[in-house]
Symmetry: C2
Subunit: 116 residues, 2 copies
Amino acid sequence: MVKKSTESERVARFADMLAAMGTEPRLRIMRLLLSAHPEGMVVGEIQTELEIPPSTLSHHLDRLKGDGLVEVRRESTFLRYTANTGALQELLGFLYAECCTRNKAVPPETIVRIGK
Amino acid sequence: MVKKSTESERVARFADMLAAMGTEPRLRIMRLLLSAHPEGMVVGEIQTELEIPPSTLSHHLDRLKGDGLVEVRRESTFLRYTANTGALQELLGFLYAECCTRNKAVPPETIVRIGK
DNA sequence: TCGATACTTCGATAATAATGGAAATATGGA
DNA sequence: TCCATATTTCCATTATTATCGAAGTATCGA
């Protein structure tokens, strides 16, 4: 059975996701994984690219994983991380709804650049 | 003259904006201000609605202001806060570009529900 | 000039988070 | 079994953030 969450839990969850990306190193990691999507990258590659010490990087990846923004799978001795597009879609959908749909505070075409 | 920011500064700025909204009380504040847009709300109204102690609320508002997510103006003894839709537009545009445009990791129609 | 109201700033504390070296664990191959 | 490589976990430190009562400041009307 699917867990039905209260509005409060929903907001709290999105807040957690925002916080997870709300740090320069982690936002960089997400951008990097998105740029490598859908293959993703193994930790060593991320490390080489971003020059973050191994243990620090591991903590950041763990945080992103904890909030559902990335997924991991092992490939022999490597761990391959990928962006969780489903989670990103939910988050973007939430923000879009809050800003553009529910309250019409931000005009959609300024985000999406419709047409052209 | 317009300040040209490096890519690094740009990412850092969006990270700060994400972090500003990455807390349940502050995300609630943003939702509330968006729901009251474009009039916004005075601090006392926000306080009544969210039941956050005055000094705590003031700190949160200050943080949101510092990262450009809200704007304030005085109305006699009241301070009226409004969501800064320009900043939200930038942030949404950035996330949308990263997820949907640059990397095509998330299909736009799942966010925007084009047509229909 | 004196309230009264609205809100912020001060000041202090407690709670979380970020960072990274060193030791531990996992996997596969010799 | 032993080694090499990849990555995490342990552990400790520093830094940042969240919270809120109490005192301070701003504005207005009497």
